[in-house]
């Protein structure tokens, strides 16, 4: 049952991206465009997406994490790191530039595939290559001696 349930969760996530406007790169770029504030073209909507998502997740996580274990798993897999290393700044800085160029972050890019756009296919193919490259470099022996390779699920 866990697998169909995860499909349903992805579906709810995707509906949220569509309803909120996150699946429209033009809207994302107009939010990131703080230079458009004087001209009145700035679209503040995405701040409301974040507010709605964090409000529900903050209250929901508090309740769920009081449970002894998740419904389909033996334990909770929560990130434990709290150190601020170079990668936690370099990675998001690189990601942010990509986000600002095309207006897609990973979730909306995947949902955009279902819109049937060729642009989304190009972006997702390229994004996948970037992900594979990052994991490959993180697993190089010369690097793993110094830094622990991040579990992709670790935040």
């Amino acid at each position: 049952m866990a697998i169909p349930f995860q499909f349903l969760i992805g579906l709810i996530f995707g509906l949220g991206l569509i309803v909120s406007g996150m699946s429209n790169p033009a809207k994302v770029l107009n939010f990131l465009d703080v230079g458009g504030i004087p001209a009145g073209t700035w679209d503040a909507s995405l701040a409301f997406v974040m507010a709605g998502a964090v409000a529900v997740t903050f209250t929901g996580f508090k309740r769920v994490l009081k449970l002894a274990r998740p419904y389909f798993a033996e334990r909770f897999y929560l990130p434990t790191r709290s150190d601020i290393d170079p990668r936690i700044i370099a990675g998001p800085a690189i990601f942010g530039v990509g986000w600002g160029l095309a207006g897609f972050c990973p979730g909306p890019a995947l949902t955009a595939l279902g819109f049937g756009s060729v642009s989304a296919v190009i972006f997702v193919a390229s994004m996948s290559a970037g992900m594979v490259l990052a994991r490959f470099i993180a697993h190089l022996p010369s690097l793993t001696r110094f830094v622990t390779p991040a579990d992709p699920l670790d935040t």
């Binding site: 679209d43 998502a53 929901g60 996948s128 594979v132």
Partner: protein, 142 residues
Amino acid sequence: MVSTSFTPIASLVGGALIGLAAVLLMWATGRIAGVSGIAAGLFPPYEDRQFPGRVAFVAGLVAAPLLVRFVTGSLPAQTIEASPAILIVGGLLTGFGSVWGSGCTSGHGVCGLSRLSARSLVATITFMAAGMATVLVMRHWN
């Protein structure tokens, strides 16, 4: 550039749905709903046995617009202005950076901030600032 209208209510409701999905995934599998981590885990090396669940989650993301079109008969506006070259460079940076930094808008921005994680706060401020700086250069540099 294409102008878009301010949609606070729809964005708040959509955001709440994203939050609901994050809470349900934690309740069901005990894992963070980070799309970059889930998507990156579709490719080898496979370090755990979560592959089928990740495929199902991503299939759900892709199926969402199909469901909207089936139910309402149309899809909301989606405007992609970037050229293929920009899409390729943007995609590479987005994929590389989100994995290198252990998360993206969902993992750090939604789940991490909700867990009051200092690492996620640093990550979120950084990618927002980098995104804003990039748009500033692309649109206003002349």
